[in-house]
């Protein structure tokens, strides 16, 4: 097991190296550049040249790439051109926000997805099943920003039940230790602040959870259908094993393997889905910062943030693979 993990981690090195190349040249292929974005209407060629000179963007690309790589190896991810703060600092400041939102969305998607998927499969062919399939199709196809605006319009603007943007009402003046606002509110005993932060998670969380929820529902349903029609389930029924055992140990547990894979993949997708969702809900995480960085061509932020996300994504995938072996002993043998 440990050897497998070690091997996977080693494989990560060439992967990330390849990614740095791709990232660097993709970012520089974006039309315009940080100098133009910074200067706006004042972007005359002379002024653009001056700023490019300042940041070393007029060096040959290969030289720039190796300079950046050399800095990376020393753990230096550079400085944001827009905010003039170190990229690592910007990432760490915002990551808890995104993590909090992502966790909320994943709990929503997994909890509801497995429940609905299982429930639909057990009623295969009935109206409830058709409805679940149809709803998940809608969930997959509806664009996040559209859903976000609609959700806000209904629940924040028209009904006034939920906040429309941000992470917490600034008037509360809450104390933050960990930057996980709900958790901070709980540990400091500021229940108002915790509740307020939780309410701020609801709408963006639903918008972010929609696609993974739909996918998990469908995968669970398909997987349960496959398992419940398999020979060993029929044998078990014939032997008179209790219904509960068959449902829990036979069907559900064996249906979960593809679902776990999906959850791992979804987690990575959630990080990218956060870019749109956070922008719509003015939620101050890495997503909204990244989308701004694309607009302002903030090279160091684009490169650094996407690298961080890639590493997180790779580690989650590794964790998913490891968790298989606990769910399905056959994987361990392979």
């Amino acid at each position: 097991m440990l050897r497998t993990i070690g091997r996977r981690l080693l494989l990560l090195v060439p992967t990330l190296f390849g990614l740095t190349l791709l990232l660097f040249f993709w970012v520089r292929a974006l039309p315009g550049g940080p100098a133009v974005a910074l200067l706006g209407e004042r972007a005359t060629p002379e002024r653009v040249a001056e700023i490019n000179e300042l940041y070393g963007f007029n060096e040959p690309l290969i030289a720039q790439y190796f300079t950046w790589l050399g800095q990376l190896l020393q753990g230096n991810f550079g400085v944001s051109i827009q905010t003039q703060r170190p990229v690592t600092e910007e990432f760490l400041r915002r990551f808890p926000a995104t993590l909090e939102l992502t966790f909320f969305a994943i709990i929503l998607a997994v909890g509801l997805g497995i429940t609905i998927g299982y429930w639909a499969a057990r009623r295969q062919g009935k109206p409830a099943d058709h409805f679940a399939v149809f709803a998940s199709l809608i969930g997959i196809t509806i664009p996040v920003f559209f859903l976000g605006v609609i959700l806000k319009w209904i629940f924040a603007v028209q009904l006034g039940w939920l906040p429309s943007d941000g992470r917490q009402d600034p008037r509360l003046d809450a104390t933050h230790y960990t930057n996980f606002y709900v958790f901070d509110g709980i540990i400091t005993g500021e229940w108002d602040a915790a509740w307020d932060a939780f309410l701020h998670l609801v709408l963006p969380g639903i918008a972010l959870a929609t696609i993974p929820l739909a996918i998990i529902t469908r995968i669970t349903r398909a997987s349960v259908l496959e398992v419940q029609n398999s020979d060993y389930v029929r044998t078990g029924m014939a032997k008179g094993i209790s219904r509960g055992t068959i449902r829990g140990r036979f069907i559900l547990r064996n249906s979960l393997l593809p679902v776990v894979t999906t959850i791992g993949l979804q987690f990575g997708l959630l990080l990218s889905g956060a870019i749109l969702t956070e922008s719509v809900f003015a939620y101050p995480g890495i997503g909204s910062f990244l989308s701004r960085a694309i607009f302002t061509r903030d090279y160091p932020v684009l490169q650094g943030f996407i690298l961080f996300i890639a590493v997180i994504y790779a580690l989650i995938n590794l964790a998913v693979d490891v968790s298989y072996s606990f769910i399905d002993p056959r994987v361990r043998v392979q």
Binding site: V36, T44, L108, P170
Partner: protein, 553 residues
Amino acid sequence: MLHTARRRWLTAAATVAVGAVVLTACASQREDGGGDDNASGDVDTTFVFGASGDPASLDPAFASDGETFRVARQMFEGLVGTEPGTADPAPLLAKSWEQPDDTTYVFTLEEDVKFHDGTDFNAEAVCFNFDRQNAFTGVAASQSMAYYWGVIMRGFGEESIYEGCTADDDYQVTITLRQPFAGFIPALSLPSFSIQSPAALEEYGADEIGGTEEAPVQSEYGQGHPTGTGPFVFESISPGEQTVLTANPDYWGEQGVVEEVIFRVIGDTTARRQALEAGSIDGYDLVAPADLQSLEDAGFSLVNRDPFNVLYLGMNQAAPGLSDPKVRQAIAHAVDKDALITQVLPEGTVAATQFMPEAVIGWNEDVTQYEYDPEAAQALLAEAGYSEANPLTITFNYPVNISRPYMPNPEQIFTNLQSQLEAVGIVLNPVTNEWVEYLDLIQGGTEHGIHLLGWTGDYNDPDNFVGTFFGLPTNEWGFDNAELFQALTEARGLATEEEQESAYAAINEQIMEFLPGVPLAHPVPTLAFDARVTSYPASPVQDEVYNLVELSE
């Protein structure tokens, strides 16, 4: 027993799911940022403004964008302010000033003013600030940092037009320039020339721009210790989230009712509107024209600024056909500015006759105008050798997914102009780009035809408009007009406003005869507020300080 154990996690999953649904569906009885945090019904003295971004730096010397200025104006003051509702200079930290000769300015200062750190504002503090900025080198002196000192003082150190500053006594200061510059006083109303506490600047290493040449890192001062004389004191900043200021109890001027100012960062225009509708902010800037009516109908108050901008249709003379003055005149005659304004621009927008708004020094009442006259346009095109069989074909560049104060809705502006130009037989080839790419295309290369762009003035200075556009040969306009360049260079060095007035009036006429582009309109920028905001000090140059905001509930 076993039976239930096996069902346990299914139940758990269901509970999580149901719980989430219930929580969502459950109407929260709490206030969600809408206002009254006190039940007594008193006025809520927190004013929450929806900003489109963070301030780039808290040190106004390095400020050059609207959002940074917006925050800086609450905490800082300069020697010179503006007359409320105009772009004209007015006393602020300087009670009065005199100009004994072309290059000398003597300022008499307000007394008994203190910085937020309790130190005294005096003549020495003024000189400290001017000397500090002139001494910037390296990164600090770059276009991306101390932009305005570099532009207005034409450089740093020995290269700048700033010669020196002397404290004659505690409350009198003399500033000398190396050459006459009529725009000096109005320029001082920019937040970039705010007077900051010398003690705080030194204590928090304001000039220590860290990092490397390639990657400047803000100073400790610029990240969290701004110290001025203004009505609000810095409290905290959470980048990407909000900046919080509190009322300055020792403010020397009018205190006002607002005790706390919160700038919430909401980057997306739709999100800002929804935040106002949902009650999480009290107001926001640059309302999209499409939202004006619905906001007004919903009971929000709209506040217009007098426009201090210009939107124009630029013509690149390097593109085929556009170097012919007849073609440019034809395009000008083909444009129906009034139709454009009534159909797609905000109410109150006025048509532009020249490349600056009326409030600017040197605006010329009698400038040559090109009335909307499709027949004249067609006749001019025929004279230039175009016909139905051989129509004038040009590229029309415009940006998408961007809203600027002078250009709230480029897509609609384009569509409107397109139909007008096609009506006189011009064949258009529309090319769209995202904003940064668009700027790069227009300013950085020659591959463009006619295009939409504009400018919002920073302060009352004609050079800030026409000098910026036509002072040098550029890719944007693609012409070389030595006479015009010369006139603008000379006008920039004039010593008094009277001299400027006549020089720029002549220049405006010269420009409109030459017709490098068609000035279209001065669109009205609009702010939207919650009904509880009963008064907001709108200013054409955004000199809006929140001690003058009035709240009713």
